[in-house]
């Protein structure tokens, strides 16, 4: 699952075993999940 750092805008992978929720490039701890590039179908109800 791809995440993005909100400070340095780098794409990061979360390493739950060692670093936890932390950007390996800048150390920032707020990461957001990237929207998938697939088409998302939503029922309008």
């Amino acid at each position: 699952m791809g995440y993005k750092c909100t400070r340095c805008k780098q794409k990061v992978e979360i390493d739950y075993e060692y670093t936890g929720i932390r950007c390996p490039y800048c150390g920032h701890r707020i990461l957001v999940k990237e929207r998938p590039t697939t088409i998302k179908r939503i029922n309008a109800e």
């Binding site: 929207r35 088409i39 998302k40 179908r41 939503i42 029922n43 309008a44 109800e45």
Partner: protein, 264 residues
């Protein structure tokens, strides 16, 4: 049955329906609300959405936009003979939307695959986009019935009341009834209180005038078989077409019963 049209515009109508039963008037009202099929967005294919609204909320907002409906071209999907309910040009229409901020996205930004099918109101706000935010989607509209979801409800404010009947006899012109009437329809002449034929339809049957009259000169009643009908369309049909379609629905149901009974 008699119909006397009082007001008629594209979106709303007011008429007096007389010499019919309450059940029939209510049948027309219910048919306008629940049984006239209209187009509404059923699902949305989202390519990109970086707006502040999440996908489901955006889809809900889109589904509630009234769409001008052509009942002769499109049929409800469940009744489509061409595709059997799987979706085809006879039962669904596609609307695409591509917008980038800054700016507000309005219903007029939806581009339809069929030029006849457009949002009924062009200035319904969908979402406000800030700089860099994008919205790219394809919305697919189906025909459906108001009884299944409010998004397919063509008649939005349909109601009726009985035609009021006001009898004034032996009036002493004290003026109490005119002062009490919230609609202000009671006028005074030399012979006493009067209500004109036009104003009588404004009476809400509150009976305050009757209660305040010490000599019981004024009697408020209503005609059981005449109704002041008020209707409003959401824009998918004109008010005239909505009333015609509702009457056709009732006619169709009656014919269906007849055809079933004919088999016995």
């Amino acid at each position: 049955m008699e119909v006397d049209i009082l007001e008629l515009s594209d979106r709303s109508a007011k008429f007096v329906l007389s010499k019919v039963s309450t059940s029939f008037a209510n049948g027309i009202r219910r048919a306008m609300i629940a049984d006239v099929p209209t187009l509404a967005i059923e699902y949305v294919n989202l390519y990109d959405n970086t707006s502040v609204l999440y996908d489901e909320q955006l889809a809900l907002r889109l589904s509630l936009i009234p769409i001008v409906t052509d009942a002769e071209t499109y049929v409800p999907q469940a009744e489509c003979d061409v595709c059997g309910g799987e979706g085809c040009p006879a039962c669904e229409v596609s609307l695409t939307l591509s917008a980038e901020g800054p700016g507000t996205v309005y219903s007029r930004d939806l581009i339809s695959s069929d030029p006849k099918i457009q949002p009924a109101d062009p200035t319904i706000p969908i979402v406000e986009l800030k700089k860099g935010q994008k919205l790219v989607l394809e919305a697919v509209a189906h025909m459906g019935y108001g009884r299944d979801s409010v998004k397919w409800q063509a008649g939005v404010a349909c109601g009726y009341k009985n035609v009021p009947v006001i009898n004034i006899q032996n009036c002493d012109a004290c003026g109490h009834c005119a002062a009490e009437c919230p609609k202000g329809i009671i006028r005074f002449e030399e012979s006493g209180a009067k209500v004109s034929e036009e104003d009588i339809l404004k009476c809400s049957l509150c009976r305050l005038c009757e209660q305040v009259c010490d000599i019981h000169a004024i009697k408020v009643d209503f005609d059981e078989n005449a109704f002041v009908f008020t209707m409003e369309s959401d824009g998918s049909y004109t008010a005239r077409d909505l009333a015609i379609n509702a009457a056709n629905v009732i006619k169709g149901k009656a014919e269906e019963i007849l055809s079933i009974l004919d088999q016995f």
